[in-house]
Point group: C2
Chain length 222, copies 2
């Protein structure tokens, strides 16, 4: 029997998501829970990156993970092996999560022993960028095989994120990925973006992301 | 000066997209225009695959391409170099195209000399699957770096497509991609799916896709 639950989340009835997201952030501030919203294309490496990040942080910080997908529970099963609390959220076909859907997830997860809650959003560079989940910070992963031109095509996603992980740098020799151009395109949209090249497979660069999280969680809970 | 136009398409006013899509297909049947709707995640290789496919077909078949993106015109610029007619569609932030948006694109492109019209949809495995564009056939690309578990997570997309191109097979040695498992997951959703492993970079496998298109275009125009 699995140690995690699958929660079917319901479509929100709230018309004003921005207001609802602000309310959720206030609730999280009072409870001293830091919520990270992690986004990317399908297959960019969200779950692999989380596994390596959790391994670095789980002895210091109480972590809970929400895995949002349209279907399947392969990601929750993968995260469960790290030993942290995890819940699989099914979005009923929805391509994104908004603040109320995230709230449903947090309730299902339970946050009493959680200092860092992580929402792994649906794999999609478009719709999740349009809905504030109530997260304290937004992170995204762009993987080398996707190409360095993605900031040009999905500008909103790059504009709303605080940190960008450029994943799968181990395969840079096999792809026409221009790191300098990518960074330049990103900086045009978000000059202050923290950019961290990583390889989730080997763990390269993940400590820098973990340190960023340590600092952000500590600042939020002060 | 570029030889292609950028068209800002408008959100549809039609409530019944399925009915509108059927109407568009009838119009296309009368005009003997075959419309292919090509979908994938961001960066799976839609444009690269089209470039190689067009090179094989453009001397036999009149081709017109619609490049749909939220922003930028890098894809239209790339397709223009192949020598076929192309138009860049901007979706105004929309994550998918429906039938009326596709009709706007076809009008902008002009179909008098077009036997094969190709819509390169917005890079997204979720929303485009939910909207019938009026296409005669749907094709999708899954790339090796995305992983073999994608059919489990995005079942609708795999269910509505007629042909699946598995791209970037040149990098199979560097990724944990299980081709047999991928094919098995796909067949569960769509037993009759035509599956073609390709490498858009080298052109490997693309002739099989081109032949599938030759046959489909000929059958539609009979």
């Amino acid at each position: 029997m699995e140690g995690y639950r699958i929660l079917e989340i319901k479509e929100s009835v709230f018309a004003d998501n921005d207001r609802d997201a602000e309310l959720l952030r206030q609730e999280l501030k009072e409870k001293k829970v830091f919520l990270l919203n992690l986004m990317s294309s399908p297959g960019a490496g969200k779950t692999s990156t989380l596994k390596k990040t959790i391994a670095l942080l789980k002895d210091e910080i109480g972590i809970g993970v929400m895995e949002a997908d349209i279907d399947s529970d392969v990601d929750a099963a993968a995260i469960e092996k790290t030993g942290v609390k995890v819940i699989q959220l099914h979005t009923g076909g929805m391509c994104h999560l908004d603040a109320d859907m995230t709230r449903q997830g947090l309730r299902g997860l339970g946050t009493d022993d959680v200092e860092l809650a992580i929402l792994e959003n649906v794999g999609n560079l478009v719709c999740p960028a349009e809905f504030d989940t109530g997260s304290v910070k937004n992170a995204m992963i762009l993987s080398v095989p996707e190409g360095h031109d993605k900031p040009l095509k999905y500008p909103l996603m790059f504009s709303i994120c605080d940190v960008l992980l450029i994943n799968k740098i181990d395969v840079l020799p096999y792809f026409d990925f221009d790191m300098d151009k990518c960074v330049e395109y990103v900086r045009r949209l978000k000059p202050e973006m923290k950019i961290i090249p990583i390889c989730a497979k080997t763990g390269e660069g993940v400590e820098e992301f973990a340190q960023w999280l340590r600092d952000e969680v500590a600042a939020w809970r002060k």
